[in-house]
Structures are given as structure tokens and as C-alpha cells.
């Protein structure tokens, strides 16, 4: 017997491709633009959202029958806020420099449209196991885009990956690698508009591979 039924597998794989939160639903763009200048920050953000959305979806799903529908948004906010504070405190304790880089955007996970969207659209109407899979799937779909964007922005913008100089030494006077050939980092890559353009290119590639995704 397979670990997951076919229907459950789809919950995880769909957000990766044809129902990606960023490239198809265009949710969670703000953080994708703001913190993807470095690959490390992208990965940490992806993991944080994975935790918040995975756990949050389960919690909401467990409470779904006792939440009065009139105040459900408040309840959802309390759940997200609690989880985000946990993430924030953990980051501050164990990765202070990184939490500086991510600054306000960890806190802003609360307002990340993907999270409230999944609570509303899925966790309120499904059991905890399926809600967990859905949360993991969507957070991973979000994270993979963040990591792709972060990869290209850090590589082309700073010439490094996770802080390691992969393209050579750019310091004048001791140039090595590509820099010795006259290459220079692309400062535009470090600015937010370029993140938007990179996401746009991903959307473009995805839609030209799968024509069904093109709206009229």
C-alpha cells in the first residue's frame, strides 16, 4: 500500500506545479520580493512558512467544528500569530543575524495571504491529516519559488551562494575566476523590481510549458 492515496498525493504535488501559490494564484508576493536577495534568507523564510502553515492548518482543522464562523478570522489570526512568534523567537535565539535580515518579514508571515487563504479554503473543511498535507504542499510550493528566485538573485547580484563566493574573488587588485575576465555583479538583481521580473519569467516559462494555465 502506498504511503499516500492518490488524492492525498495530489494535495502535495499540485501546489508545486499547476496550482502554485505564487506563480498561479499570485499570493504571498510581498515576501517573495522583499527577502529573496540572499539564498539563505529565502531558505529560512521557506522553512518558517512551512512550519507555520503545516502546524497552523492542523490546528485550525482540529478546531474547525468548534470555531463560530462569525469570529473565525480572529481565531485564525491568533493561531498564526502564536506560531509566528515561536518562529520569530527561535530565529532571534539561534540565528540573530539572519533574523535581522528578514526583519519585519517574519512577523509579516501573519499577513501572508497564502496562510489565511489555506486556512479559509482548506483547513476549515477538511480533516487534520489532509489539512497537514495541504499546508505542507502549499508552503513547499511557495518555498520552492522563493529558493529559485533567491538562487538567481544571489548568484547574479552578489556572485555568491549561501555566502560562498562561487564566481571568484571580486576585490579589486586580487581578482580571480570570472571577475578576472571583466565580469561584474549585476546590482539590479539586488533591487526588488528584479525579483518581480524573475518571478515574471518563471510564470512565463511555466505557462509556455503548460498552455492550459493561460487565461484568455
Amino acid at each position: 500500500m502506498a504511503l499516500l492515496s492518490k488524492k492525498d498525493t495530489k494535495l502535495i504535488t499540485d501546489p508545486f506545479a499547476d496550482n502554485n501559490p505564487i506563480t498561479i494564484q499570485v499570493l504571498g508576493i510581498c515576501s517573495a520580493l522583499a527577502i529573496t536577495a540572499e539564498l539563505k534568507a529565502s531558505i529560512v523564510m521557506a522553512v518558517s512558512v512551512l512550519f507555520v502553515l503545516g502546524v497552523g492548518n492542523v490546528v485550525i482543522s482540529l478546531m474547525r467544528n468548534i470555531i463560530p464562523s462569525k469570529i473565525r478570522i480572529i481565531v485564525q489570526l491568533v493561531v498564526v500569530a502564536a506560531l509566528v512568534i515561536i518562529v520569530d523567537q527561535v530565529l532571534k535565539a539561534f540565528a540573530y543575524e539572519l533574523s535581522k535580515t528578514l526583519s519585519v518579514f517574519v512577523g509579516l508571515i501573519i499577513t501572508n495571504c497564502i496562510i489565511m487563504g489555506r486556512f479559509e479554503a482548506f483547513a476549515l473543511g477538511n480533516g487534520p491529516w489532509r489539512a497537514f498535507l495541504d499546508g505542507i504542499g502549499n508552503a513547499a510550493g511557495y518555498g520552492i519559488i522563493l529558493i529559485i528566485v533567491g538562487f538567481f538573485r544571489e548568484l547574479l547580484g552578489s556572485g555568491t551562494l549561501l555566502g560562498f563566493p562561487v564566481l571568484g574573488n571580486p576585490i579589486p587588485g586580487e581578482l580571480t575566476g570570472l571577475y578576472a575576465l571583466g565580469y561584474e555583479n549585476n546590482g539590479f538583481m539586488l533591487l526588488s523590481p528584479m525579483a518581480l521580473i524573475v518571478i515574471g519569467i518563471i510564470i512565463w516559462i511555466q505557462r509556455s510549458r503548460n498552455k492550459d494555465l493561460i487565461e484568455d
Partner: protein
Amino acid sequence: MSLKSNLHSLKEKYRGTKMAPAFNALHTFLYAPNETTQSGSHIRVVDDLKRTMNTVILALVPCLIFGMFNAGYQHHLALGDIGRADGFFSAIFWSWDNLVIGLWKVLPLVIVSYGVGLAIEFLFAVIKGHEVEEGYLVTGMLVPLIVPIDTPLWMLAVAVAFGVVIGKEVFGGTGMNILNPALTIRAFLFFAYPTWMSGDKVWVHGAVARDKAIAAGQNVDAISGETVLGSLAQNHEPAYSVADMFFGMIPGSVGETSTMLILLGALFLIFTKIGSWRIIVSTVLGALTMGLIFNLVVSQGWITESSKFFGLMSTTWWHHLLIGGFAFGAVYMATDPVTGSQTNIGKWYYGFFIGFISILIRVFNPAYPEGVMLAILLMNVFAPTIDHYVVQGNVKKRMKRLKVKTA
């Protein structure tokens, strides 16, 4: 068989294949196409898109040639090989030595710009199966004229690829783009490689290389190639006379320095009805207005010499037209028929704000001395909005007239 009929028969052979658009582009570049419209109403004209583009290129040629001489002149002048040229027809300026440097530095820029840009246009035409559009003919000529002389060629190639794909092709190609492609290319260079696009080293050929030699410990003098805008932004008196600025014997991007030749180009474009005189005039008016406002601020004593804006604010109002890339932008960039306003009233607003905002950015943000680039890109975005309100205003006016008549 003549070359022409050879080409016509070759076209028949390529018809329907993937390479047809690429072949057709070359074919109609050389000859008028042999197809005629068979049905429907149609008119015979010669000013098709290709002719329009070629006219603009003709208007740019004087700037290009002057830019080549100027590149050599600034280089030799900075090295101390030659003295200052006096007057536009000075033999010191129009020398063979200057031209050689100019050809050596400017032609590669032109070749890379056209090579990369047209390659992408052909690629997209073949993939998408439409005809190659002529839009890049002008862009490819504009680009080398608005970059600093020492721009590394690979940077230019990257920027051109970015500008053509992101600035134009994603929107659907020539005629569909929101932003002026040449300015998109320049803006990309400006934000991606700021050290090559601003400062006092990039405008004169050899200054960057000389700087590196000094850094490596060689005993040579540094070359300063500060532009007029650059020195004004630092509250220095520029080292050039008004005549120098008007004739264009100043450091700057390759083809943008000579206001006189740009003026001739403008007259040519207006005479051939390719460029909109409304946009050119209103852009100049906008810049003069802003210049006068700043002069007023200075003469009222609201701002003193201690201010970091004093140098540019106290610049005589009409000098703004002569320095920097303003004139070039107003004549060749703002008048782009695709990205500018389409309505006649809209053109006045569009142009006025370009001029107004150019000088505003130029004065208040010395980090971006070339305000005209950002101003035109900004107004490109607003041009459809301006047109919308002009059209709506017209509709409203006529509705009122209709009501009066029927009442």
C-alpha cells in the same frame, strides 16, 4: 534573373516554413514586397513602418558621426595631446586622429547593439511565427548613442537582451510595448552597473583604464572626465562655455552631447512629420518652467550657496536644455509614437511633465543626474492614462453638445 526576382522566388520556397519570417525580414529590407492587397479598401503609401524607422535613423546619423569625433577629441584633450577646439569647425576637433578613436570605440557598440537586438527579434519571430518587426532598427541606433563610451561590450549585450525581451517582446513586440526599449536598456545598465554609468570616469575613453593603472602603482596622471551635470551637482563651476555645450564638445554619452545637431535632427523629424512637434515643444516648455522656478527660488534667497542643490538650481534656466541628455531625450526618446501619448491634447501634458520632471530629478537627486531617462520612462507609464482622460473629456464635451441640440 535579377537579384530581385531571385529573392521573390526564394520567398515562395520558404513560404510556410519556420524560417519564413526571418527570410521575409531580409527580403523586405532590401526591396518593396511584391504582394499587393487584393480586396477591401486600401491606400497606397510609401511611409510604412520601415520607412518611418529609416527616417529616424537618418536623423540620428549626424549625432553618431559627431559622437565619434567627440569621443576621440575628449580622449586626446584629457591626455593633453591637443588643445581646446575653438568653434564648431575647428580643425582640432574634426581631425583624423579623433575619428580613429571614435570608430574604434563607437562602432563595436553599434555592432553589438544591432547584433544582439536583431538576433533576439529574429528568434522571437521564428518561434512565434510572425514577421520580424522593424522596431529594433531605431532602438539599435539609439542605444550606442546613450551609453558612456567605455561601456564594456558584454554589459551592453546583456542589457540589450534584457531590454528587448522584458521591455518589448513580453508585451507582444513592436507597437505593444509600454516602455521605450532603448531607455529600458539604459535604465537596466544604470541600475545594474552603476559604476560604469555614472561618476566622472566613464565619459572619456581611457579614464577608467588610467584609474586602474594608477591603482596598480603606475606614475601617471588621472583623467577627469566630469560632465557638466556632474560638476554642477557638486556646486563646481563647469569648465565649459555655453558654446561648447551647444556644439557638444563636452564629455557625455556618445551621441547626446551636441544640442545643435539634435536640434537639426528635430527639425528634420518635424519636417518629415515623423516626430511630434507637440511633444518636443511641450517637453522644452516643461523643462524651462522648472528651470525658471528653481531660478526664482535662488533669486528670492530661499536657498543659499551652502545648499547642496545650489549648483544646479542656480543654473541659468535655459542652460538646462544644453546640458546632459535632455535634448536627445526630448527629441528622439519622448517622441516615440508607441510609448508616448496618442492624442494631440495628451501630447502636451505628456511632454510638459517629461520636461518638468526631468529637471526636478536632475536637481534634487544628484545620484541620478540623468533625470530625463527616468522622467520619460515614468511618463511612458502614464501616457495611456493621459489618453484615457483626454478621450473621456472629449466624449463628455460632445455629449453635452448633443443634449443642447436635442433639448
